[in-house]
Symmetry: C2
Subunit: 419 residues, 2 copies
């Protein structure tokens, strides 16, 4: 037995809220102009009230609406897989499990929250959403979700990706979304995630029929992703494991990490490990302070680890990990010592991706490959000590749309950083 599939009726019916489990409350977001705590009214032009409520919710569980579950069931529960061929290749006594979020329509974990956000917007009468996307993972996920609820969607895509990586742009259009390159008013600028957020927020504020949607960082986004860890817990039990010794996930804005790790926070013996690129080392090298979520300073200030909102990460292949800041909830766990963080250069990350492809058969997204790298290193450490460690990592997406990065790696064109 190497794959555990939950029966469909075991799909989680409530999201796990990390808030009551934090050592101390998170400081509130601050208004960009007044620097005073923002209230629901400040956020109402951007988000439906249901999501604003989830942002500050304190109850331990929040029910998942049936309409959301109906769509999640198109691919959930996702498999838990034991990587026995990788274990054999490493000669490790560790048991390595991964949660396969690549089976979603968009090929990543992103639809878990995209569906919920589209639902709540539809329910409150929103006709149209605006959003930003970098390489396109979030844009594709939201386009899929909007197609399910018959919502219009406009995606501001970082121009460099729009020009050079057309496949995810085409996927967004296939699901019915409209895509334009960002920044919209500077046609020669390659763009950045921060500037695309500014474009999307400006679009939303200018139109009464439109709300804005964000794919990571915020509390409600991470909340929606906790189905990952909740399913994994049940599946590890099916596999005869008590609890994992360590839970590993890549970390950009924090949503796939929070999704798999938060349900294990109350289990004090379980180590939680965030993996980031050395070229964008928010958790390992950043400062914990209030900062803007975007480059232009349109968004509220959040208390988080940050490299500074004007930090422009080098153009590494794991586009989903190129963010100057981080989820306040993830940041709080790291600051308080409940979660660890490690950074890798992309050469080492692709070494691991190739070993994974040749043993387990799966071509990982560069983001997911960060978790594979850390899982392999944990397994090799267990080989040194002879420990039968149980390792769980989040396989947050496949790499079929990232093969140009593999091409660069295989032909010596990968630009590496110090690590």
């Amino acid at each position: 037995m190497t794959r555990w599939i939950l029966p469909q009726e075991k799909i989680p019916s409530a999201w796990f809220n990390i808030t009551p489990h934090l050592a101390k409350p998170i400081d509130p977001p601050l208004h960009p102009a007044t620097r005073q705590p923002v209230g629901p009214d400040d956020l109402a032009p951007l988000f439906p009230m249901a999501l604003i409520g989830q942002e500050v919710a304190t109850e331990p569980w929040i029910d998942i609406p049936g309409e959301v579950l109906d769509i999640l069931r198109l691919w959930r529960p996702t498999p838990l897989v034991r990587a026995t061929r990788l274990e054999q290749a490493l000669g490790t006594p560790a048991r390595i499990y991964f949660k396969d979020e690549s089976v979603s329509p968009a090929g990543s974990h992103k639809p878990n929250t995209a569906v919920a956000q589209a639902f709540y917007n539809k329910q409150e009468g929103t006709a149209r959403l605006s959003t930003e996307t970098g390489a396109g993972q979030w844009g594709t996920a939201l386009a899929f979700a909007c197609a399910q609820f018959d919502l219009d969607l406009k995606v501001y895509m970082v121009r460099a990706s729009y020009d050079q990586k057309p496949y995810r742009r085409v996927a967004i259009e296939s699901w019915g979304g409209e895509v334009v390159p960002s920044p919209v008013d500077e046609p020669d600028h390659p763009g950045s995630l921060g500037s695309a957020i500014s474009d999307a927020v400006r679009d939303c504020v200018a139109r009464a029929d439109t709300h804005y949607a964000l794919g990571s960082v915020l509390n409600h986004v991470l909340l929606h992703q906790t189905v990952i860890g909740l399913e994994a817990k049940q599946q590890l039990e099916m596999a005869g494991e008590r609890l994992p010794d360590v839970v590993i996930a890549p970390c950009g804005g924090g949503s796939n990490l929070g999704g798999i790790a938060f349900p294990f926070v109350p289990d004090a013996d379980v180590r939680l490990l965030a993996v980031e690129p050395v070229s964008c080392p928010t958790l390992t090298q950043g400062r914990f302070e209030y900062d803007f979520g975007d480059t232009a300073g349109f968004t509220p200030l959040l208390p988080m680890y940050t490299l500074g909102h004007d930090f422009i990460p080098p153009s590494i292949h794991a586009g989903g990990l190129r963010y100057h800041g981080d989820s306040p909830q993830v940041s709080a766990l790291v600051r308080d010592g409940r979660m660890e963080a490690v950074a890798y250069p992309q050469g080492k990350v692709f070494d691991a991706a190739i070993q994974f492809a040749r043993t387990e058969g799966k071509i990982a997204a560069p983001e997911a490959a960060h978790a594979i790298r850390a899982a392999i290193d944990e397994a090799l450490a267990a080989k040194e000590t002879g420990e039968e460690k149980v390792i769980l990592f989040n396989y947050c997406g496949h790499g079929f749309l990232d093969l140009a990065a593999y091409d660069d790696y295989l032909h010596g064109r990968l630009l590496d950083e110090q690590g």
Copy 2:
């Protein structure tokens, strides 16, 4: 309930052999030089004896080796999905099911036979395989399989694809295969599947350590694909269905069609429907006669529907369906009236693919979209008659590496044929 997952122990342990179920025996392949029936010795330079034996086997079931099952379990059993959102959009009383073969490492059904072929070659001491690939589906599948058995692999890739569609070339390399553009001795020629077969066979014959592998057409290839239909039968039972009214699959060389349809051949009430492009209408417009498998005439002559081995299909996006001939077993079923065939122009095929993406969330390979088109038309016919028809189709692969075709369709650049 919309997805049925077989327990892992229900993965088929034997392949279903269509030979004893055919109305009359298939005429033997003929030697290209002598035009006499080929014997095992003629094929020994190309294939291991186990596969040559399967080519002419008459027993109804052939055991699947445990080493093959161990690898198939990385992704099998694959899900059976009921397309309820598509049904609702069509307003049909039909129940539409699809078998999701896109979940394999290579994203298509091709690994089902690639793994078996790699295993038998390894078992008989082969160190290296040569093969051809068009757009790359077969090359990626065989590269994955060779990585599992530590076999070297050289892939001759049609030059037009090698130059214009690098992603599958990169996937082959990621799994450790070597790729060269074909024809090797004419660097300005765009190439064709027929000429790539000639290159791969020439490579194999020149080296004692090398065998050749083919991804479709031959009896042993279709045999290995019957796990698809065998699983689907069990899953339809789980779903409370007796038998489908019609089983639908795209047909190029015939392997995904044979895979899902052959186990239903003994069920006389079940209609079997092959779907092909109007631009390469082998079953609907071809002649049933002996013809070569390749352009150069290196291969044995097979009794099949063919457009002529010098027929060069237009460059449509469903590269896997661009083959002048067809499986002799599929050809015999069509000739004898047990199987129907229909042809569609690619514009209508992509209409269906977009409707499927926006309802079921899945971006289909252009090959799979041919089956979706036919399934939708069957469901619309059922709406006219009010019949609660049960439709099963093979979703033989995802389209993440085919998004350029969607781009052409969405922006009016799709060259259509008469249909």
